[in-house]
Symmetry: C2
């Protein structure tokens, strides 16, 4: 289809998460129909990102600078570290604007099934920060999964070893806008357990 260059572009686009073969063809056509204004600018944005973006040596997020914009922002509260599994989780929190502290990106969870142990998690820089005594609170914002809970539990113990720090977890319960009959049983139990005076 359209020679090797087109075919190769389609195949590589189809490997992107969220794009299948059909949408990859549509995307390739859209890009190829405007090579100067769409295809080349995207290619250049990718090259620039590949050249400039690195992993922050403090928190583990992706940014054009190291330390990242968040870790080097004096306006943020460096005494409150929010621990998340992935960079995507960090982005979600940043979009909500709810967290004005800093982060630690683990890069995953402990998982016996996937063979991920403590040595596979990005925690050294978190423990260093806690040891240095600058951290008041560590918010464990991990997924509400078995692996997330296991990791939070393990990390809670690990933090207690290295220094006096308050560890908290995000609340579980009914999503805002949700209705009771749409909730799964696990969330229902969590929501009832976390009940507070009205």
């Amino acid at each position: 289809m359209g020679g090797g260059d087109v075919e190769r572009l389609i195949q590589m686009l189809a490997r992107l998460p969220g794009l299948g073969p059909r949408s990859a063809r549509r995307a390739a056509l859209a890009l190829l129909s405007q090579p100067e204004t769409r295809l080349l600018p995207l290619a250049r944005a990718m090259e620039t990102a590949a050249r400039n973006v690195r992993t922050c040596s403090v928190c583990g997020t992706l940014d054009s600078s190291d330390p990242c914009g968040i870790c080097s922002d004096p306006a943020r509260d460096h005494g409150v570290v929010c621990v998340v599994e992935t960079v995507g989780d960090l982005w979600a929190l940043e979009r909500s604007g709810v967290h004005r502290g800093v982060y630690q990106v683990l890069g995953g969870t402990l998982s016996a099934l996937a063979g991920r142990g403590p040595e596979d998690l990005n925690i050294t820089s978190l423990l260093d920060r806690v040891r240095a005594g600058t951290v008041r609170e560590v918010i464990l914002a991990l997924g509400a999964t078995v692996e997330g809970a296991t990791t939070a539990h393990w990390l809670h113990d690990r933090l207690a070893e290295v220094g006096p720090v308050m560890a908290t977890r995000v609340g579980h319960g009914m999503p805002i806008g949700g209705s009771l009959d749409m909730l799964d049983d696990g969330t229902l139990v969590a929501a009832l357990t976390a009940r507070r005076p009205a």
Copy 2:
């Protein structure tokens, strides 16, 4: 989120058809997590495509060579030209392997609403080919829409002016694997009208 380079990459990915903001972020993360093996190769495939891919001066498809691989293939039947609206339609027919002739990509349909007239369609090279007397049959494989039918009708008349050539249209009816009660009324009418001896 992650500095200007990351943000810019996400925004440009989000403009691809089929990708929204959320999937664009997922795609950006997947690419950035493997800059050498995923991000840069995709960027380079895009630059190569932008540099090499052009519109075939004979049929109007996109290819790395001009004339394209189909138009310059001596094994194909250059006496049968299949007229399609878009390059995507040509790709669909090529995947099916049903057409062993050549193509003409109109680049759209006539549309009073969108202000597209005959001068906006890529037909000159088709009329030239018919005039040259090398074309036996023109298959009008246009969309089963009002605009597709209008364009097919107009093109049929136009072809009759320039040379003796058989113009045919693709059959309309029930899709293979389809069931009667899933068909819209227009397709039902077309399927009944196109009935043949069993």
